[in-house]
Amino acid sequence: MSSMSPMDAQALLRQKLSWLWLNRLPLLLERVATIQSALNELDNLSPDKQEAARSAAHNLAGVLGTFGLKEGTEIARRFEAVFTENPISPSPTLQIQLDSLRALIESHQP
C-alpha cells in the first residue's frame, strides 16, 4: 500500500496524468491527422490508408476516455466503425465529427 494518504495519492496521480497528456498530445493529434488524411481521400482510399485510419481511431477510442474525454472515445469509436467497413459508407457529418474530436483534444485540460 502507498504510504501517502488516498487524497494525496490521487492529487499526485492527477498531476502525473496532466504531464503525460501534454507529453502525448502531439501523437494524439497526429492520429487525428491520419484520420483526416483518409477522410480527404474517401473516394479513392487505399487499403493501407484505411487500415491506418482504423488503427488511429482504435487507439484514440482506447486512450481518450482514460484521460477523462469520454465523448472523444465515443467519436473515435464511430470512426473506427466507419473505417472497419468495406466499402466505407461516406456520411456528410464525418468531417464535422472529426473537427469536434480535434477541438475536444486540443482544448482538454486533465
Binding site: M1, S2, S3, P6, A9, Q10, L12, L13, R14, K16, L17, L20, R24, L27, H58, N59, A61, G62, V63, L64, G65, T66, F67, K70, T73, R77
Partner: protein
C-alpha cells in the same frame, strides 16, 4: 511487500496511464509488456500477483495469450483481468467462459483502477 502487477497491452498510452495509476494510487510494482508473446515471457519470469490483459492486440490477442498463460502456469495460476472495450452481453459471456478472473471495461478511470482490481480479486490491501 508491494503487490506485483503485469500489464499486457499493445497501446503505449494505456500501459503508461495504467502503470502510473497503480504505482501512484496503490503503490504496486508494475511491469509492462507490449504484446502477448512478451507478456507470457514476463509472466513466467516475474510471477506477478495479477495480470491486466488487453483483449484486442495484433498477433497474439488477449484470449490466445490467456490460454497460453493457463497452459504454462497451470501449477501456479495467476489471476487474469481482461481489459476490453467490448461491453455487450454476448462478448462478456464469451470472455467469462474463458475462465478469466474478471472483465474490466475500457476506457477505465485511472483514479479508481486499483480499487476495481482489489474488488475483483478480493484484496484488502
Amino acid at each position: 511487500m508491494a503487490r506485483k502487477i503485469l500489464i499486457i497491452d499493445d497501446e503505449e498510452d494505456i500501459r503508461q496511464v495504467a502503470a502510473l495509476s497503480l504505482e501512484t494510487v496503490a503503490g504496486w510494482e508494475v511491469s509492462v509488456a507490449g504484446n502477448g508473446a512478451q507478456g507470457v515471457e514476463r509472466a513466467l519470469a516475474l510471477r506477478p500477483d495479477a495480470i491486466l490483459l488487453d483483449v484486442m492486440m495484433p498477433g497474439m490477442d488477449g484470449p490466445t495469450t490467456f490460454r497460453e498463460l493457463q497452459r504454462l502456469l497451470k501449477d501456479a495460476p495467476i489471476p487474469v483481468l481482461l481489459l476490453t472495450a467490448k461491453v455487450q452481453g454476448s462478448d462478456q459471456r464469451r470472455f467469462a467462459d474463458l475462465g478469466v478472473t474478471a472483465i474490466l471495461a475500457k476506457p477505465f478511470d485511472p483514479l479508481t483502477l486499483a480499487d476495481q482490481i482489489r474488488d475483483a480479486l478480493g484484496w484488502k490491501d
